[in-house]
């Protein structure tokens, strides 16, 4: 009997050790420098509120940590979509001037590999910028650093929350250099292709309700064939 107990204790210890190695893996760092930082192309920065209650609409399976918004919004609980969530947000520039509306579809990715420090999400942006046109963005995002640095500390905290200042790039592909792919749809972006990077900035997180203070930022490298006035932002007001 004592051998069995020793064996079981050993297995538990080994499992815990392995999980600790994954958690403290020094090679799984947070990405803070955008791959687009070295690009000489003009960049379009679209900011949005990433807390569900501050979005135009947020929906998921209705049983996840983050509650859908607004009230009585239809939940996507069916088997094929229950591991997905949809955000509809107002997009603004760096100074907070509204520029347009974006719909973001996110789904847990089957390419997720915890051994490689990956918690992947396949996401799509469908963006409408009045006066300019539309964009379609494909991204593979990695939330490993976000989970490790914010979600887990909030869970183990006696206050069930996390506060601090965290900025990280979630975009991890599908392009080799870790950027997302962008296709122009209509308007001045029609026919164009470029790259994007999405960044999250978090200052408060609740283990009970999810993000409490979080903003997102999608940076799109504008293609060179964009008209010369491509940097003229059209304000909505």
């Amino acid at each position: 009997m004592k051998y069995v107990i020793s064996l079981l204790l050993g297995v538990v210890t080994g499992t815990a050790l392995f999980m600790a190695m994954l958690y403290f893996n020094p090679f799984a760092g947070r990405i803070e420098v955008s791959p687009l930082a070295v690009s000489d192309q003009e960049q379009l920065v679209l900011r949005y509120e990433a807390v569900a209650q501050q979005m135009l609409l947020y929906t998921n399976d209705g049983e996840s940590l983050v509650a859908p918004h607004p009230v009585k919004v239809e939940e996507i609980w069916e088997p094929t979509v229950r591991d997905s969530w949809v955000q509809v947000v107002e997009l603004s520039n760096a100074s907070g001037t509204p520029l347009g509306v974006g719909v973001k579809f996110s789904s847990e990715s089957e390419a997720t590999r915890p051994l490689n420090a990956q918690a992947l999400v396949d996401s799509i942006w469908h963006i409408y910028l009045p006066g300019r046109g539309t964009l379609f963005v494909e991204q593979r995002e990695n939330y490993w650093a976000y989970i490790r640095d914010i979600v887990i500390p909030a869970r183990v905290s006696s206050a069930d929350s996390w506060r601090g200042s965290w900025i990280g790039i979630t975009t991890a592909g599908p392009n080799q250099i870790g950027t997302g792919r962008v296709w122009g749809g209509s308007g001045e972006f029609a026919g164009s292709q470029s790259e994007s990077v999405e960044t999250l900035q978090v200052t408060a997180y609740s283990a009970v309700n999810g993000p409490a203070a979080m903003t997102g930022s999608l940076t799109v490298s504008l293609p060179s064939q964009t008209p010369e006035n491509g940097n003229d932002e059209v304000e909505l007001d």
Binding site: Y3, S6, L7, L9, G10, V11, V12, T13, G14, T15, A16, L17, F18, M19, L56, L57, T59, P70, V71, K72, V73, E74, I76, T80, V81, R82, D83, S84, V86, V88, E90, P98, G100, V101, V103, F105, S107, E108, S109, E110, T112, R113, P114, L115, D122, I124, H126, Y128, P130, G131, T134, F136, E138, W183, G185, S186, G187, E235, L236, D237
Partner: protein, 195 residues
């Protein structure tokens, strides 16, 4: 025995994480019909109004959901954004989709169809309906399973014969798609969709 157990725990956890996928998206059967030109056709639809998750537009009388607070800004006038649950030919939910309709001097209609287990389709449609009804357009971009495909897309509204079950009609999206090694004939693709 403890050391043996520790090693077993280390190896076992690594093996478990390596061989057991943490995410396994549920899949419905893809209902694709092969066309004579080597391409294929797949039809999706949304049942109205039950599959509409959201409709937002400046000054809209009845937004969905009713508590939606859509921004009323001058730049958004004449535009409408909708979110739907998307169904396959067997009437099963297979994804979610956004539809953007923009009016004004340069109108357009766009769809983004997101099927979590398969990928996403981004289609651009003519703003004005065709004489025969419906709108035609083309695939602008696609991801994952759909990535190598290109072709034509047609949207049409089909009114329900009997609205007793709460469904007044369906918005149908028919795709005629071909792979990269097939030269598409736009006229032929359009004809297939019309059938």
């Amino acid at each position: 025995m403890f050391s043996f157990g520790t090693i077993l725990g280390l190896i076992g956890t690594a093996a478990l994480l390596h061989f057991v996928p943490p995410v396994n998206q549920y899949r419905e059967r893809s209902i694709v019909s092969v066309q004579p030109n080597g391409g294929n056709q797949e039809v999706f639809h949304v049942n109205l109004p039950v599959d509409r998750v959201m409709i937002g537009a400046p000054g809209i009388d009845k937004p969905v959901p009713a508590s939606l607070r859509w921004p009323v800004r001058a730049g958004l006038q004449g535009s409408q954004v909708e979110l739907f649950k998307l169904r396959n030919a067997e009437d099963r939910i297979v994804g979610v989709a956004s539809r953007l309709a923009v009016g004004g001097s340069a109108p357009y209609v766009e769809w983004a169809l997101h099927l979590p287990a398969r990928g996403t389709i981004y289609a651009l449609l003519d703003a004005m309906p065709a004489a025969a009804g419906g709108r035609s357009g083309s695939l602008r971009a696609a991801t994952r399973e759909f990535e190598p495909l290109r072709g034509a897309v047609r949207e049409r509204y089909v009114a329900a014969a009997d609205a007793s079950d709460g469904i007044t009609g369906r918005l149908e999206l028919a795709m005629a798609l071909v792979g990269p090694d097939v030269a598409p004939d736009p006229a032929e693709e359009e004809a297939e969709i019309q059938q």
